[in-house]
């Protein structure tokens, strides 16, 4: 249920119609969704579920199907390895760690996009990683609150 709730919120954040000038300063909500799961709930995360959940994100972004699956798998794996040490540090260091992981994902994204005929600019991908790292803390709070609410509802039902 928590996965479904956080995924739906992520889809909503992606599907919101933003003005064209905001495109370069928008965080990648999909990456932040996986970051939260990779860091906070990796023991509940299934790779199959992650791959399936990435397909609608591909459709919303208009990218090739599978692109976000590839990136999500890499981010989730990296954060699962880093998870215990990154969870303990303060939000600034956490954001820095998230930035490094997203930067690596951006490099892979650059490579995959180039192969599919797009002409991406790496600096824009870096900018997206920076903005995503900056937004990480408030979004983490949002997902934490959402998870607590869903968990609370489940407990009440029982």
């Amino acid at each position: 249920m928590i996965f479904l709730a956080t995924w739906l919120v992520t889809l909503l954040l992606i599907a919101l119609p933003y003005p064209a000038w905001m495109m370069l300063v928008l965080p990648h909500f999909g990456f932040l969704f996986v970051t939260w799961w990779g860091l906070m709930r990796n023991y509940q995360l299934s790779m199959t579920l992650l791959l399936i959940s990435s397909l609608p994100i591909d459709v919303l972004y208009g990218t090739s199907l599978g692109l976000h699956g590839l990136l999500f798998a890499l981010i989730a794996y990296a954060l699962t390895l880093l998870g215990p040490s990154v969870r303990q540090v303060n939000w600034v260091r956490q954001s820095l760690a998230v930035f490094v992981v997203l930067l690596i994902a951006s490099a892979v994204s650059y490579w995959a996009r180039t192969l599919t005929g797009q002409s991406p600019e790496f600096l824009i991908l870096v900018l997206q990683a920076v903005v995503s790292a900056l937004v990480w803390s408030p979004l983490r709070w949002l997902y934490d609150s959402l998870a607590d609410s869903v968990q609370g509802l489940g407990t009440q039902r029982q």
Binding site: L11, A15, M23, Y61, G62, S64, G66, L81, S119, P120
Partner: protein, 275 residues
Amino acid sequence: MRPLFSETSVAAVRLIVAVTFSVATIFIDSRFDALTMVRQAIKTALWPVEQIAYFPGRVSSEIAIWVQSHDLISERLETIALENERLRTEQLKLQTLRAENAELRRLLGVKERVNERLLQAQIERLSNDPFVHRVTINRGLLAGVTEGRPVISADGLVGQVVVSYPHAADVLLMTDATHHLPVQVTRTRERAIAVGVGRMDRIELRNLPDTVDIVPGDLLETSGLGDRFQPGIPVAEVKEVIRAPGQPFARVIAAPLTPMARLSLVMVDLAEGDS
């Protein structure tokens, strides 16, 4: 002793499987267009989510109209604006058709093309990915919008429908890096292929002979080759012609006539192809 299958190695195996699956999916989708049905199914399932996402924007625009307290007037204004957009588009095409007609009259015996049917549509959202120039319009299969339909605005060509869903359609803008468009220079009838470069304000003509007769200010229009776009739809204005010394080919940079970033209303050409 270290276990043969530790937790890390299990995770690594899962990662390898996931990466292989993803790369295979990317390859199939980008090279063979074999997953259009999957895309259509997912987009249809996402329809409620998208409607919820559009809701705040729609409510705010509705409130803005209501605050003006001129419901009827605003409705009428909207109709007139739509009609005006349609007429401006028709006027643009008419100018090109006149020029074409004069030329055909000289040549004699060439059948004139007059068939066209335009469907108005509103742009609902722009892809959030800075490298993907796609927009979603509010007309789909139910309104007769199918894959490959040209999309134009009052100023000129916008792009083409790449995926159509029951209530919406994805339009690939001509500025997308994967878009290729057969064009000709209005003044000289010189033909070329215009490719998007991933910038909303630019398209390029590449691999043209160094001696090509194109100058800044020339207008580019669709050539009609490829049977996808009608000939004569205004496309872009040439801004720069780059002739590098020692290079056999010239590169032409042009600015699309349609302001892609500020687009809200477009028209889908539903005319059956004949020439």
